[in-house]
Every structure is written in structure tokens, then in C-alpha cells.
Amino acid sequence: MTSESAAFNFRPTATPQEAAAWSRRQVLATDIRAVRGRAYPRVTGMFREKSWVFFEILLPFLATSAFVFVYRAIQAPPEYIGFVVLGGAMTAFWLNVIWMMAQQLWWEKSQGNLELYFAAPMNIMSVLLGMAVGGFVMSSTRAAAVLVIATTLFGVTFEVEQWALLLVVFFLTLAALYGLGMVLASLFLMWGREAWHLTQLLMEPVYFVSGLNFPVGRLGIVGSLAISLLPLAVGLDAMRQLAFADAAYPLGTPSPDVEAVILLGMTVVFLLIARLTLRILERLARKEGRLSIRWQ
């Protein structure tokens, strides 16, 4: 028997109040179980539904390739092809945040699961973290595939001088992205059916202001705003500067270490906001009985 499962052993108690008074260890073990439980269907689903390899790796790779050929058609410098490839890989995480994080609580409400989540003795953040972990596995596979295939096919050469900083920036970008996903999840739950449509607004427009296929600094003030608000914009810009250290990178954006600090700030702020909004939502949902109202 593992130490974690020991936390769930039956302990006879004198009163229901005593039974409800959980130790820190029990709380933590339950939350970890919730994370694992919520990540499980996403990871297992990857192996059960094989079609995703075709539809979510191969086809998006072809879409990324289209932008590579746009640059080839206009004889762009080779590093721009690398920018597109890097952008294509990072899109996987953004799509995952939008489709499988932001919408998920509203979706769970429509499916009838949300009331069970709120009723279960766990922190709702664990459920969101579980979604993020499961989604991360899926998205990483797609991102890695796009990166490897495109790098090989299009002969992209990365010139990295600061590997450690690149890795830090990458993971901070993911942390900030999934933090934003948690905030959006609670907002979308509040907005209901509009959320489904608003998802569309978070795709191409965000790609544009994040400089998905070109250096975001070229957008001027819009680019600066994006860097201060959107993890995708700041993360991509920092990673491009670090992964193509020898390229003539357009000026106008902060250095990668400053962008790493921005990402760290975003992560903390988004997680705090997510925690706050989830609490408010839970209270509202219990007070107004909206947990079980579907399709609105």
C-alpha cells in the first residue's frame, strides 16, 4: 500500500465533524489524486482515438508549412522560416489552452459534471491543473512533431547560446499560458454560450497580435501591448531571440531575460486571478443554483 492511498484509509471517528476535519496530508493527497484523475482521460484518450495523430499532428504541420512556403515565395531570410516553425509548434499549446482549458468548465457544466466537481472534497484548481497536465502531454507531442519534422524538412538551423534561459522561458510560457487558461475557464463559465463563440476571437486575432509568423516588434505599440498581456506573444518573442541568436532580430522588444521576468509575473498574476474568480464563481453558483443549468 502506498503512502498516498494510506491517507484515504478508513479512520473511525467519534463525530461527523471530526471525520470532516482533514489533515493537510489528506487534503494534499486528494488534490494530487484529482490532478491525476483529470489528466488520465486526456492522456489515455490519445491512445484510444488514434485519428488525432493525423488530424492534430500531420494536418496542422501542413498548415504551418503553408506559411513557410509564403516566406519562400518572397525569398525571406532563412531565420524567418524558423520563426514560422517555432510559432507553429507553440500554436499547439495555445489551441490546447483555448479549446481544452478555457471552455472546459462550461463544457463540464453542459455535460452535468460540474456539480460533481464542486461537490467533491477537492480544490477545483486541482481539476484545472489535471486538465493542464493532460493537455500538456497532448500538445507537447504535437509541438515536438511539428518542430522535428519541419526542422528536418525545411532545414531550419537553431543557434542557441543560452539553453538554460531558453528552457526557463519555455516552461514559464507554458505556466503563464495555462494560468491564463484557468482564468478564462472561470470567465467562460460565467459567460456561458457566448464563450463558445468568443473562442473564435481568441484564435487568428491573437495569432496576429502575438506575431505568430513574424517578429512581434514589427507591430509597434500593438506588439508592446501584446507583450505585456499575452503569454504567447512574450514567450514566442523571447524564444525566437534565444533560438536564433545569430539572426538579425528586429529591435523594439525587451531582452529575453526581461521577458522571462514578465512571464513569471504573468504566471503569478494569472494563477491568483484564477483562484479568486473560481472562488467567486463557486459561491455564486452555489448561491444562485446555476451549477446544473445546462446549455446556457
Binding site: 482521460p41 486526456r42 489515455t44 484518450g45 482515438e49 485519428s51 488525432w52 488530424f55 492534430e56 500531420l58 494536418l59 496542422p60 501542413l62 498548415a63 508549412s65 503553408a66 506559411f67 512556403f69 509564403v70 516566406y71 519562400r72 515565395a73 518572397i74 525569398q75 525571406a76 531570410p77 524567418y80 489551441l95 479549446w99 481544452m100 463544457w107 453542459s110 455535460q111 493532460g134 454560450r193 457566448e194 463558445w196 463563440h197 468568443l198 473564435q200 476571437l201 484564435m203 487568428e204 486575432p205 495569432y207 496576429f208 505568430l212 509568423n213 513574424f214 517578429p215 514589427r218 507591430l219 528586429p250 446549455w295
Partner: protein, 318 residues
């Protein structure tokens, strides 16, 4: 049923027996009615979630942003100074928003009804023809896509300096290629809807993925000549390539060709720099017919398999 108010068409025959003629339905009249009701339902679902201003922003933000991404890519490299190439990418990008919406409409109807509202089984067993209902549901999204495409073109002409002369439009060609192109988009959409009938809830992103892949071989935003020869050949077999080329031909006579050009596969096969209007129409008709026949076949197989395996009322999740 005595004592209840029953609609005329549903009331039992006066002689009290079973009227067999009712099971045959009303033919074309029923089909039109099903299509119309599905279209209205699709439009309500698509448009009544917000006020008209936000709906308008929502409808045009995506295609306009897509076009701006491409325009910025040209600007960054310094190719933005070529108005012909700018017009090329803006037209291609605008038309592509139409493709994405058209393809997504049908596939999302399946997923909406099966996974979210859990009504697919009831829609399926209703007397309406399932395919007609699906087509009707897809109309609204296609209309939104068409509006986005028009606005993107307008933004291109008004704000991005696309040289456009309404007096030079080849209207007959435009009307013919738009009709054939729409049919081809619907055919691809039916094929994808058939696939979504077989897959799980996460298939929401499949229409985007499929249209992204077709984007590569359709010459929407770059001439096919930059692709390897086998991919150029695939592009020439795709109706969407001919549709985009036809619309460009009609709106901007004498503009850059996506299918031909120096060193292209088309040039090596035909010996000419680019296709003529008639060739475009014939090729679009031929490739569109093949796509339509294939889509109907795929839909029938998928439909049978879905019934066989109980996929119509399954819900999934992850």
C-alpha cells in the same frame, strides 16, 4: 389522443386505420421544409448569443486578422511594396475564411448535436432527411464566412491598397466559379462531417486542421510553383485550387496566377504560363464532381457504420 389538440397532418385518418401514404413523406416539399427549418435553427444558434455589433466584430475579426498576418509577413520582408502580391494574398486569405466556415459548419453540427445537446439521435430518427438537415445547419456558418470574406476584401481594397477596378470584373466567370466552388466546399464539408460522425468530442479542431492542410496545396496565399512537384500535382487535383484561381481571374483579370507561372508543374504539362477562364471552369467542374461523388460515398459508409456501432448516441469526453 381524444380531447387533445392534434395538428391536421398528424391526426389519425377519419376511418381510424393506418394511412400508409404518410410514411412516404411529402417528397421535395418535405426536403425544402427540413432544409429551411435547419437553416433557421443554425442561424439562431450562430447569431442570437449576442448583440449585432459584437456579432459583426466576431464575424470579421478572424478573416481580417488572417489577412493581416499575411500582409505583415510581406511587409516584414519588404515584399509588401508589390501590390499584385498583396492583392494575391488578401484575395486568397479572404476566400479561405469562406472555406473554413463552410467546412466547419457541417462537422460542428454533428458534434454540437451529438456531444453538447445530445439531440443527434432524435434528429436522426425524425422524418427529415439527415443529410438535408445537416446541410441546412451548415448554411448559417457558411453565410458568416461569406460575410467575413467580403469584409476582408473590402478592408483590402479600402485600407491595404489592393488595386481593384469593379468595371473589370468578369461577372459570368465569377458567378460560375462561385457556384461550382460552393458545391465543392459543401462536398468537402460532408466528407468531414462523415468523419466526425466516427470520432470523439475533441474533433472540434478537425475542420480547421483539414482546411489548414488544403491551404498548403490550394495556392491560396502563394503560387504553387514554390511547392515540390508532387504537391503541385495534388494541388491541381483539388477543386479549391481551381476555385481560388477562378475567383482571382474574375476579380483581378491579368493578376498573378497561383497554378501556373515560371517553373510550375502546370507550365511543364500544358506548355502555357497559366490556365484560361474556360480551363478553370472545366477543371473545377471535373474535380468538384469527383469530390461530390466521393463525399456522398464516404457519408453513406460512415452513416451505416455509425448505425451499426451505435455511434449516433454516444458521448465522449477527455
Amino acid at each position: 389522443m381524444s380531447g387533445m389538440d392534434v395538428a391536421d397532418g398528424l391526426r389519425a385518418p377519419a376511418w381510424g386505420g393506418f394511412d400508409r401514404s404518410r410514411t412516404t413523406g411529402g417528397g421535395a416539399r418535405d426536403l425544402i421544409r427540413s432544409f429551411w427549418v435547419a437553416t433557421r435553427l443554425g442561424w439562431q444558434m450562430e447569431a442570437n448569443w449576442t448583440d449585432p455589433v459584437l456579432f459583426f466584430i466576431y464575424s470579421v475579426a478572424k478573416p481580417v486578422s488572417s489577412a493581416l498576418i499575411l500582409v505583415l509577413m510581406l511587409e516584414v520582408i519588404g515584399a509588401g511594396g508589390r501590390p499584385d502580391y498583396r492583392a494575391f494574398v488578401i484575395v486568397g486569405s479572404a476566400l479561405w475564411s469562406f472555406v473554413i466556415s463552410g467546412i466547419a459548419g457541417l462537422a460542428w453540427s454533428i458534434l454540437d448535436d451529438r456531444e453538447r445537446y445530445r439531440m443527434l439521435r432524435y434528429v436522426y430518427v425524425s422524418p427529415s432527411d439527415f443529410l438535408v438537415v445537416l446541410l441546412g445547419r451548415g448554411v448559417a456558418r457558411t453565410a458568416v464566412g461569406a460575410m467575413g470574406a467580403l469584409i476582408t476584401l473590402a478592408v483590402g481594397v479600402v485600407a491595404l491598397g489592393v488595386p481593384f477596378d469593379p468595371g473589370r470584373i468578369d461577372w459570368p466567370l465569377l458567378v460560375v466559379v462561385m457556384a461550382l466552388g460552393l458545391a465543392a466546399i459543401v462536398a468537402i464539408a460532408i466528407m468531414l462531417a462523415a468523419i466526425c460522425l466516427q470520432t470523439r468530442q475533441e474533433s472540434w479542431s478537425y475542420p480547421e486542421a483539414v482546411s489548414g492542410a488544403l491551404f498548403l496545396v490550394s495556392g491560396a496565399v502563394f503560387p504553387l510553383a514554390v511547392l515540390p512537384t508532387p504537391l503541385q500535382a495534388v494541388g491541381l487535383l483539388t477543386p479549391l485550387s481551381w476555385w481560388v484561381e477562378g475567383v482571382r481571374h474574375a476579380l483581378f483579370p491579368g493578376a498573378l496566377t497561383a497554378l501556373g507561372g515560371p517553373g510550375s508543374f502546370f507550365e511543364s504539362v500544358s506548355g502555357r504560363a497559366g490556365p484560361s477562364g474556360i480551363e478553370i471552369v472545366v477543371a473545377l467542374l471535373a474535380t468538384g464532381t469527383v469530390a461530390t461523388l466521393a463525399s456522398v460515398a464516404v457519408f453513406r459508409v460512415s452513416d451505416r457504420r455509425a448505425k451499426d456501432r451505435g455511434l449516433l448516441d454516444q458521448t465522449t469526453g477527455s
